[in-house]
């Protein structure tokens, strides 16, 4: 792969607040994006009003792929290359310091600035496969693929990972020395996202069991 800018390499992605949580490792950027399912994507709207929407996404190489409806105004803007900000936040737990001020959360977060490219033709279909396989590993081989009409109704976008920032907060609370002497419990409570048991659709026509590739999913 060609050399690509590391996280935090541009003036506007250099983290100023809680700079000790900054990570400049591209591997960590990739790992966070690969662990997430949903990103929040923003555009500047008219009259100073921004808009943010959640989108399902997948990382592929040094870019993020996501899709939406061709009928969406926000997606039409993105397809035309208006500047965007994409944010992925994974919550890993609550952090209980002795003080409320130092109490916080453990998290892994990514911010990407840039403009999207509209994908078409074979590249568009390959991107839809990639997104499906990130969200539903194993599903593309079995599910019915998009028809021409369905594909035409779908906007598929690629956002390059050229301007990014990464912040990671983990581990125990970081109290000021005086507070450590207080007789108050301190620590952290992990949060994890887990998959439950698959639920059959009520309109299943055949006696098809839950596929093995679905049973293998874990979070």
């Amino acid at each position: 792969m060609a050399a690509v800018p590391r996280p935090g390499s541009s003036p506007r992605t250099r983290i100023k607040r809680l700079a000790t949580k900054t990570v400049r490792d591209t591997g960590v950027l990739y790992a966070i994006l690969d662990a997430g399912l949903v990103a929040h994507v923003a555009v500047n709207g008219p009259e100073g009003q921004p808009y943010v929407v959640p989108v399902a996404y997948a990382r592929e190489g040094h870019r993020v792929l996501f899709h939406g409806s061709t009928g969406s105004r926000l997606f039409r803007g993105l397809a035309q290359g208006v500047p965007t900000c994409l944010s992925v936040t994974l919550i890993d737990g609550m952090v209980l310091a002795r003080s409320t001020f130092e109490s916080s959360m453990n998290y892994r977060s990514v911010m990407v600035l840039g403009s999207c490219t509209l994908l078409a033709g074979e590249e568009k279909l390959a991107a839809l496969e990639h997104i499906t396989e990130h969200l539903l590993p194993g599903r593309w081989a079995e599910a019915r693929h998009p028809s021409k009409k369905e594909a035409a109704a779908t906007t598929v976008l690629a956002l390059p990972l050229t301007e990014t920032s990464v912040k990671v907060s983990d581990g125990p609370p970081d109290d000021v020395p005086e507070d450590v002497e207080l007789p108050i419990w301190a620590g952290n409570v992990p949060i994890a996202e887990t998959f439950g048991r698959p639920v059959d659709a009520p309109d299943l026509r055949f006696d098809v069991p839950v596929p093995d590739y679905v049973k293998r999913w874990t979070r």
Copy 2:
């Protein structure tokens, strides 16, 4: 409480895409906000570039409270009342339709448009208590409260819930009739966020057990 606008009451919050998932019930708006921990908050930046950041928040009545550093440029803008968009998204599961096109996620999502008010004095401290008690129920009574210096370093904002939209997707996949005849498993896989076992801080000075109010937390 005075009458307040329901979700989806303004032209710019009327949902056009997947309109069947629109909810116009203020109780559902409140329930989603009360179940979340982190919101994504956006502002229009210069040169058409938006910025989105994750924030911990709490709902109080018909507004959302959140805080950040007085040193943050984004928070300085919010404190001055620039228009913002706050988005809360809870992921409830993966939805496997027979087609990739109809496959999606179950989710509950809220979008709030508006401008924040900067809180000060007693109202600011009450808001910090409210946020702490939403995120860490029971903690305010035990933890050390903010010092004057800490409070001065914290920007606390209130965003009214006057212009909102709510979308909820739940239940089984919704395949087109022809696809239901395909011998492909379909259904959904629930996702849940759960708390793990509390972890003592390594610098605990006393033999303090994990407090009961922490043991009672469930997600």
